[in-house]
């Protein structure tokens, strides 16, 4: 079973040289720590920055320089600032190669719910609806089950949707799954996790074809 850092580490393996990538809040942010050596990946922060760098050293925080999670950050050489309309413009235009987001639920047709629990929590969708509707390559990073142990990979989402038919890949603490026309296609198992366990914890249709390899971190 993977921890949060390992989920991020596995997602980082999807990165390719020259990719522009938008990382959501939570586990997705951790992906930045595992960018493979030798390739150039440029991080986009939807509040108006390309070329996001690591957190600043203590004492060097700049209140005018934050990421979409409102965290203090730095820039890397070659960065550029722009306004929020251009930021979502480049997202809508498909210029961002990979978007990694958290989710509360994903359904077997690629719907995602992540922004609202009726009667309990309404923080707003922020940029998530724009991102999932626009990006060509949406990967979800999340735990396979919720704190109650219930599957987050469902036949149909119960919570209000963030977007429809948009999730392409899911990396959880248990598995790597591709969303296909017929449902969740199991690609890889986490080290030490059986196909049976994944099957038990996946409510939506899980497609198991041939031998499922253990993932290589």
């Amino acid at each position: 079973m993977l921890d949060k850092n390992q989920i991020a580490q596995r997602i980082a393996k999807e990165l390719k040289d020259g990719y522009y990538v938008n990382l959501g809040i939570g586990i997705p942010t951790l992906v930045a720590n595992f960018i493979p050596e030798g390739i150039t990946v440029t991080l986009q922060s939807e509040n108006g920055l390309l070329g996001m760098g690591p957190f600043p050293l203590a004492g060097e925080e700049d209140p005018d320089l934050i990421n979409a999670g409102k965290q203090t950050i730095t820039t890397l050489p070659g960065s550029a600032f722009f306004d929020s309309a251009m930021s979502f413009g480049m997202i809508r235009a498909g210029k961002v190669d990979l978007t990694v987001l958290g989710a509360m639920e994903v359904s077997e047709n690629g719907d995602i719910a992540s922004w609202k629990i009726p009667g309990k929590m309404v923080k707003g969708m922020g940029g998530a609806m724009d991102l999932v509707a626009s990006a060509k390559n949406i990967t979800v990073a999340m735990m396979h089950t919720n704190p109650k142990g219930e599957s987050k990979l469902l036949k149909k989402c119960n919570l209000p949707l963030t977007g429809i038919k948009c999730v392409k890949k899911i990396v959880t603490n248990l598995a790597v799954i591709e969303v296909t026309e017929n449902g969740f296609h199991l690609l890889e198992r986490a080290p030490g996790v059986s196909v049976e366990e994944i099957q038990n914890k996946t409510e939506g249709n899980l497609i198991i074809e041939g031998e499922i390899p253990e993932m290589n971190l």
């Binding site: 922060s45 939807e46 509040n47 108006g48 920055l49 690591p54 957190f55 600043p56 050293l57 203590a58 060097e60 925080e61 700049d62 209140p63 005018d64 320089l65 934050i66 990421n67 979409a68 999670g69 409102k70 965290q71 203090t72 950050i73 820039t75 600032f81 722009f82 306004d83 929020s84 309309a85 930021s87 979502f88 413009g89 997202i91 809508r92 719907d111 309404v122 923080k123 707003g124 969708m125 922020g126 940029g127 998530a128 609806m129 724009d130 509707a133 626009s134 209000p160 949707l161 963030t162 977007g163 429809i164 038919k165």
Partner: protein
């Protein structure tokens, strides 16, 4: 034609009860601190505030919330604010949530004289309810209308007496977009210079969009999530 005002109080003198105002900023980054302080002091009521976020409990738009000066909040993300949640749950506050890119682009559409735009954000979700949708190249888009406000309050890094503005780093965010969407746009700046002192190649908001400008007296620039590396 003088656009320069002495301070926030004078610049916002005609913002009255029930006004619809846009406020630039993302989180607490690039917010018009001095205008907000002046609105609190003026005790205007029943405001409709359009802003990406609603501040925190004791800063930014949170200060207006605490004084119950808001009738309605239009935003994309309103977390990190307990008083907000309380007013929302009791029904004291009306809230409209809009996807962030849609909010930004609707402001720009106003400044660009485009009455409506098409965006895929929100298709198939409750955001799409009651909205016209349309297919382009096999993909569904919602039609969203341009967004104008009575007043736009924006914060820039540098400004000149002609109203030209330059923003700093990610404090740019919604500021240039809202600056274009105000019937009256009021800019507060950290540094106010004479026309001719800014490089015309580096202007982010041309002065034609800015009606009033003043130098903010203090900038606290509070950090919401201080994060550092070892």
């Amino acid at each position: 034609m003088n656009k320069v005002f002495k301070n926030a109080g004078e610049a916002i003198h005609d913002i009255g009860n029930g006004s619809i105002i846009m406020l630039g900023g993302f989180g607490l980054c690039g917010i018009p601190e001095n205008c907000i302080a002046a609105l609190v002091k003026k005790e205007v009521k029943d405001l409709t505030c359009i802003s990406n976020n609603a501040g925190v409990d004791d800063f930014g738009i949170g200060l207006l919330l605490k004084k119950k000066q808001l009738k309605k909040m239009v935003a994309s993300y309103v977390g990190e604010n307990a008083e907000f949640e309380r007013q929302l749950l009791t029904g004291e506050l009306e809230v409209e949530l809009i996807p962030q890119g849609t909010l930004a682009t609707r402001c720009m559409a106003s400044g660009y004289g485009m009455p409506a735009i098409f965006t895929p954000a929100g298709v198939g979700t409750e955001v799409a309810e009651g909205k016209e949708s349309r297919m382009f190249n096999g993909k569904e888009y919602l039609m969203e209308y341009a967004f104008e406000s009575d007043f736009a309050l924006v914060k820039a890094w540098k400004g000149d007496t002609a109203g030209n503005l330059i923003y700093k780093e990610t404090a740019r965010n919604f500021n240039p977009l809202m600056a274009m969407a105000g019937k009256v746009t009021i800019a507060e700046v950290e540094e106010l210079v004479e026309a001719g002192q800014l490089n015309p190649n580096e202007i982010h908001t041309p002065g034609i969009y800015v009606h009033r400008i003043f130098k903010g007296s203090v900038y606290e620039k509070r950090i919401e999530q201080r994060t550092v590396r070892d």
